[in-house]
């Protein structure tokens, strides 16, 4: 059987990417009012998925107002136009429209799924949430209490403690240095005026990207875009400045009563628009991005049983780039696992990766890419991501060529450049045996 399987694998390589990718046809739609969206028409299910992203996000929080953007986004569905929170919810439920509102550091995101049957009414309701939220004081106070409870919960959650600690050490006073939810103090102090100001700053037409997939034509979508977004302000404030990375290699232990330690590690990364980004992406896939096949997973989990899962990931954000990884390990095994991560980092930096691992990674990445496009909401999100990264509209057809073009020399070069074992900082939340805060 083994021989037969291998034959199948080899035969598969040549044909896979081409056939699968051809199916996604993107149209660029510009509304009468000048708003652009990317659309994939998919008529087989009677609903439309929209993904709307405003660049900027919680990075735009005014000084001293950390958490304003997050709270503002949480309030968009809590009362709009002449509806209070309950009336809005009843309207959405009656239409079976599904909305979600999320805040990130670099952007805020609105996702919607609406039925073809009542598309206009559902879109009008979403328009009210985006353009005419009331931010009434009762809803504000109630949602604020929920946010405060979430902040208190995060303060006792080992994974949240790890990421907050890493953020603070790496970025200090920059917005990236603190949680976008804000602190108990900053959120408690937010006023209705602060929330209104955040709304005027964050949701502006010059920052918006729209992706639409589903049961709608370009001609139908154009006017809808104007209705949905046309009444938002044209421009807001300038973006936040680049973030300086201020963390050196070493270990920071945060005492936490648990049988396991949560470990978050990393150093500076590589920007999305760097010429070597694809090489770095492929290299990281082999290092720790590729699930069970990655070096980290093989060495730390499969060979030694030190963790249930370990991964590494590139984090190319708008204002700084990081290269990070994470795992959890029983307290008496954590030090060994940390040492293995450092050894693997050093090994790949010095030696690159085996050529067959590179080939396997390229085969996986090119084969997996077309499998991403398998749901209306998913595709709408991809369309927004492509626009935000300023990728060309025909990018999908060329993306796998970029992966295939990565050579062993590229991986060696980018590994040597990117992987700096002496700069790796490990934030360890738990009670690890044999690990203390300090430099290596």
């Amino acid at each position: 059987m083994t021989i037969l399987l291998r034959a199948c694998v080899v035969a598969a390589l040549a044909v896979l990417p081409v056939r699968a990718i051809a199916a996604v046809e993107i149209q660029e739609v510009t509304s009468p009012g000048g708003i652009t969206a990317w659309l994939v028409e998919e008529r087989s299910i009677p609903f439309v998925a929209l993904d709307i992203r405003f660049e900027g996000g919680a990075n735009l929080d005014a000084p001293g107002k950390r958490g304003a953007t997050n709270l503002m986004m949480g309030l968009l569905e809590e009362g709009a136009a002449d509806m209070d929170a309950r009336a809005f919810a009843e309207a959405a439920e009656g239409l079976a429209a599904r909305f979600s509102f999320e805040a990130f550091n670099d952007s805020v995101s609105i996702s919607a799924e609406v039925l073809t049957d009542n598309r206009d009414a559902s879109m009008a309701l979403l328009r009210d949430a985006l353009v005419a939220p009331t931010f009434d004081q009762t809803a504000l106070d109630r949602v604020r209490d929920q946010v405060l409870a979430g902040i208190e919960q995060d303060a006792r959650d080992p994974e949240e403690i790890a990421s907050a600690t890493m953020a603070r050490l790496a970025f200090g006073e920059h917005p990236y240095g603190s949680a976008l939810e804000g602190t108990l103090e900053s959120v408690t102090a937010l006023t209705r005026e602060d929330i209104q100001a955040a709304h005027g700053t964050v949701l502006t037409r010059d920052r918006v990207y729209v992706g639409v997939t589903g049961d709608i034509s370009a001609a139908e979508l154009g006017p809808l875009l104007d209705e949905l977004l046309g009444d938002l302000p044209a421009t807001g404030v300038p973006n936040a400045s680049e973030a300086d990375y201020t963390l050196d290699g070493g270990v920071t232990v945060v005492d936490y009563p648990s049988p396991q330690s949560v470990v978050l590690f990393g150093h500076e990364g590589i920007a999305r628009d760097d010429d070597d980004f694809f090489a770095a992406y492929v290299m990281n896939h082999i290092l720790g991005g590729g699930g069970f096949q990655s070096k980290l997973m093989t060495e730390v989990r499969e060979e030694r049983g030190l963790t249930y899962g370990i991964g590494s990931f590139l984090v190319p954000r708008d204002l700084a780039a990081q290269h990070m990884g994470q795992f959890s390990s029983t307290n008496d095994k954590t030090a060994e696992a940390v040492q293995i991560v450092r050894d693997i980092w050093a090994d790949v930096a010095a030696n690159g990766v085996a050529e067959d691992r590179l080939e396997a990674a390229k085969t996986y990445l090119t084969g997996a890419y077309p499998l991403r496009f398998d749901g209306n909401g998913t595709i709408a999100g991809i369309l927004v991501g492509m626009q935000a990264q300023e990728l060309p509209i025909d990018y999908i057809a060329t993306r796998n060529d970029k992966v295939m073009a990565v050579t062993p020399d590229d991986v060696r070069r980018v590994a040597e450049r990117l992987l700096q074992p002496e700069d790796l900082h490990f934030v360890v939340v738990g009670q690890p045996i044999g690990l203390e805060t300090g430099a290596f």
Partner: protein, 449 residues
Amino acid sequence: MRLAPLAAAIMAVASPLWAASGDDTVTTFTLPNGMNAVVIEDNRAPVVVHMVWYNVGAADEPPGKSGIAHFLEHLMFKGTDDLEPGELGDIVAAQGGSNNAFTSFDYTGYFQRVASDRLGLMMELEADRMRDLVLDNEDMLTERDVVLEERAQRTDSSPGGQFQEQRAALQYLNHPYRIPIIGWQHEIEQLTLQDALDFYDVFYAPNNATLIVAGDVDPAEVEALALEHYGPIAPSDSLPDRVRPSEPPQIAPRRLTLADDRVSNPYVIRTYLAPERDAGAQETAAALTILAQVLGGSSQTSIMGRTLEQDEGVALYTSAFYSGTSLDDTTFGVVVLPVPGRSLEQAEADMDRMIQSVLDNGIDDAQLERIKTQVRAAEIYGRDSLQGRARGYGVALTSGLTVEDVQAWPDVLDAVTEDDIIAAARQVFDMRQSVTGYLMRPEAEEATQ
């Protein structure tokens, strides 16, 4: 907005509210060796999800061997007579595919997601490990450490996880749903290679498995491929009947309190023993499914959300939950997370008051109609997720339901009346069959706040 992180922490098991219903895109066949198959056609993208579900889960384990079903699931990636440990994963990855598995009380499932023209290869791999698993003791010991790390991560690092485990052990007096799926730590530590192989030999056979294929496929081709790859596997003639120890009458309410420094937001949660969906008889389960929405579905419009979160401002989070897809009796749950300064005793009284209000005042017609609208829409939205549809059939079929039951479910939900809901509520809200749990911080710390 809703406190999503809290919801995730409290509801240990995510329950899909409405399984995707079937239509003319769904076909079935049975191989001569007894293996059942469901094919779901969806030609939007050249993708296929291939799943094999075994009718065996943690509730089928021998006494003292808790965790063996899940441990075996891990070991299924450790090689066969034809494949080296890990090679199956390498082969799937070389196709750009993803590959994983899951274990629950009533089922163990293995799946790949891959380009649709690779379906035959996936079947070849899955058929190979159905009967020809080869295990090495050293690999077994390493993987047991991985499982112990998994338990430490999911359960022992989380007070909510430990709380859930303790509550389940109280809810069931005799039925094995009282034992955690991942196993008790002291029993996992003692599991052996022979335990795994014994369990494998009894339960892994084509006549104890359901094949589910969803995606850009032709049903006739799927049947031909299944016949080629799974057809030659001999059925087992020694499958045990699926009868678990059953519950005696539950005659006394049970209570527990777990205090832990790591708890941030104390809450009270109560579960009641509840009937599950049965083949051909899903009406009560449908009424309970709607009841959960009425009582604690939306934080703005459900009875608890509207009253406790919005009007009275005494709770930060409320929810009611019920997952009817289960082989044996399941639970109906209610949660109240009070605002700071309000005690869990008060929160429990709030909960009781809301339950009583459903029984006394009935249900608002407009609310019920909105919920029905969402039930109907969920069927449309659900068609967007290949994996979700495949999983819906898998869970149902390994829980004693049929394809017909799955396809009838949306209509059964749609037919639920106010009277049905009240009758189901009267049946389920029986304190004698309940477990009430407080998750809180240690008293000393509470007192100083």
